[in-house]
Symmetry: none
Subunit: 416 residues, 2 copies
């Protein structure tokens, strides 16, 4: 089963917008056993869209199109597809109601250009857009499926999950591709690979293992493909338990788990409240923690003490500690941690101080030096990290490492 | 002058590697007046490479190819191109010396597969690779130029700068394409479009205007193309000043400016220090502010009062205010703002309280209701916003809107 992805938009062709949609959509097609053979970026021109579509239909059963569905005059995808498949645009009541809902929420009046968005081809299935005004469309021709979706990533993603994947699974008999994602933090790819050397040698030949690193984390993906789902599941489950056995201490979750959700669950289990005190991460750690819906039930807040004066006034770090050991030191982080526990009256806290860069490094404490502390009034752990020379990477990595330290800390508390 | 970019590699088609090469190469082609009409990602298959190349030569004068030049058996680009243009592979002494140099540096012996990399087509110009083993190739056919380069970004980039651009400038008479980016925040695409209706009608026919929206922001891109650089610059500059005149109040910068950098510059100009008090944005605003290197010279920190108790204890919000008006109210944000100014002892502050979602909404204050306040002890501005139903988008939008409110506030202070 072959698929071509067409991404329409001049912003792609002039290199202003990175085409993240094509990569993401490919991953999702792969997961349901569909091979993507081409990504093509093209502009909003009728002839070009028609030519690319004709070419794509020559060698693909499925053609996914993004972009060109907005209310402005350069957005012509809908009209071109409608004509291509011999239909006409008709007013769609549900689509208009959706636009009304969105504009009501935004407290705006619907202008004529936006009203036109509710006119949709009469020769396709409509995919409702719960996140924007432009509907998606599924056309059928000679057993082939042609799908048009908005180029806005979160609108496209919701349509793909909610409508497109169920539709494709129902319409075609697809092979089974099973994945299992094992999520690790606080450990590098090389270290994981050396632990997994034996597993790689002995694993079932159909099992593939991929390492997908991101800042502070590595995702391990096990994949198997075939026609007998039951047997595939057995092989995959066996491989998963073998991997877990070898690297158990680094695993924070599976599939779509996030480290911040896992920590939330541990805090709820332990009935602990959490506070943070951040310096170099400047709110990024708090942002990670509060990205979890419901985090207000365990997270009381943070003191971001970017200035030394704020460390003294709000976190009760001693002037002498700052003078003697510096703001980036085990001693300061220790006092920040105590300050956070006191001031925010929580059971557990995290404190971070470091040199994110690009300036501020010394020979003794180069850019990337970060101290992270986690603990309760009774028990504190403080570690020193040597990160990179990149400001944004350091901020992100410190946030992840802090969460991973807290996770291990909470697990220890639970096991005691 | 039209160009097609072919990126060869399975890692692109399974979505494991983001195609950053295509966007970057497009930018560079645009800068020398070459229009990129297609990006095509394809796999290492002879037929597919030949078909895509044939199609590309139908509508492009220049075809740029990356990938498939390595020493492994799936790397077939060189052989396919050599055959396509009717040549044969011959041993290239300079290319081999380059491989020797690299392997000496790596302290490795040259294996047979790598030695084969030094065999190059006898029907092309060779582009030396100073950063890797695989040479680039420039083929010519019927006045068209076909270029093959490695997929490794830094190798490709060096070849493009050092050899390809000089070659293209020498070979073709190229037009100029000039861009100008105008950056706005706190206003929607539709509202901008309605203000710019008159401009769109009267603008020079060669000027193109594109709207590129992201959360809380819209980037406006003006483009012009032609042969007389001086005249193009005049038209573009005229168009830019016309646009700026109409939407001046929404513009925070141009080209690669960021809102957080602009605010940093305004704070430094005014010699103001900044504090923040965040509830629903949970540290995201602080994270934006501290993403700017050097922000420690004006940003003193934040109190993230996620719990009501923290609002009372650390920001001195009155219990009565919380009881009477709720945590998400103009009154609470007003007291949070005062609290931040007092506690962090700064000249100016931002306070945010809202319902990010997915839960916590009421009829009167649905999910997406956010109050943002900015001000000094003397002058405060508080606004109510109705954002979306998505937690992460609400957090991001509230952060951007808060920065934009601060920008306007600081500009007013400067103009007084």
């Amino acid at each position: 089963m072959k698929c071509t992805i067409l991404n329409i938009g001049d912003e792609l062709l002039i290199g202003q917008t990175l085409n993240t949609n094509a990569a993401w959509m490919s991953q999702k097609m792969n997961e349901i056993g569909i091979d993507v053979i081409h990504h093509i970026s093209l502009s909003d021109e009728r002839n070009d869209i028609e030519n690319c579509l004709n070419n794509a239909l020559n060698d693909s059963t499925i053609v996914l199109i993004t972009g060109g569905l907005g209310p402005t005059s350069d957005d012509i995808t809908k009209q071109v597809l409608c004509d291509f498949f011999g239909g006409k645009l008709v007013f769609n009541d549900a689509a208009y109601k959706n636009i009304e809902r969105i504009f009501e929420h935004r407290k705006k009046l619907i202008d004529e250009a936006t009203r036109q968005v509710a006119f949709l081809p009469d020769n396709c299935l409509i995919i409702p857009n719960n996140n924007g005004t432009a509907a998606g469309m599924i056309f059928n021709k000679d057993g082939k499926t042609i799908v048009s979706m908005p180029g806005v990533p979160h609108e496209m993603k919701a349509m793909l999950y909610e409508a497109l994947i169920p539709y494709l699974k129902q319409t075609y008999q697809l092979p089974f591709i099973l994945h299992c994602n094992i999520l690790t933090a606080g450990v590098g790819e090389t270290q994981l690979a050396s632990r997994l050397e034996q597993f790689e040698k002995n694993k079932h030949s159909e099992i593939k293992l991929a390492y997908l690193p991101s800042i502070g984390k590595v995702r391990l993906r096990l994949t198997i493909k075939g026609n007998d789902k039951l047997i595939l599941e057995q092989h995959l489950s066996q491989a998963k338990s073998e991997v877990c056995h070898v690297i158990d201490d680094y695993i924070y979750g599976f599939e779509d788990d996030t480290l911040e959700q896992k920590i939330g669950a541990l805090l709820l289990e332990k009935k602990y409240t959490l506070a943070t005190a951040e310096s170099c991460t400047g709110g990024y750690l708090a942002h990670l923690i509060t990205s979890v819906a419901g985090s207000s039930s365990y997270y009381k807040g943070s003191i971001i003490s970017y200035a030394n004066e704020t460390k003294e006034n709000l976190l009760q770090v001693h002037k002498n500690t700052l003078l003697e050991y510096g703001a980036v030191s085990e001693q300061t982080v220790n006092e920040m941690l105590t300050g956070a526990l006191h001031q925010l009256k929580t059971d557990v806290a995290i404190a971070i101080s470091g040199i994110a860069g690009p300036d501020g490094g010394t020979t003794e404490k180069p850019v990337g030096t970060v101290f992270i502390g986690v603990g309760t009034h009774e028990r504190k752990i403080i570690k020193r990290f040597a990160l990179s020379s990149h400001r944004d990477r350091n901020i992100q990595a410190a946030g992840i490492f802090a969460l991973e330290m807290l996770r291990k800390f909470l697990l220890n508390q639970l096991n005691e």
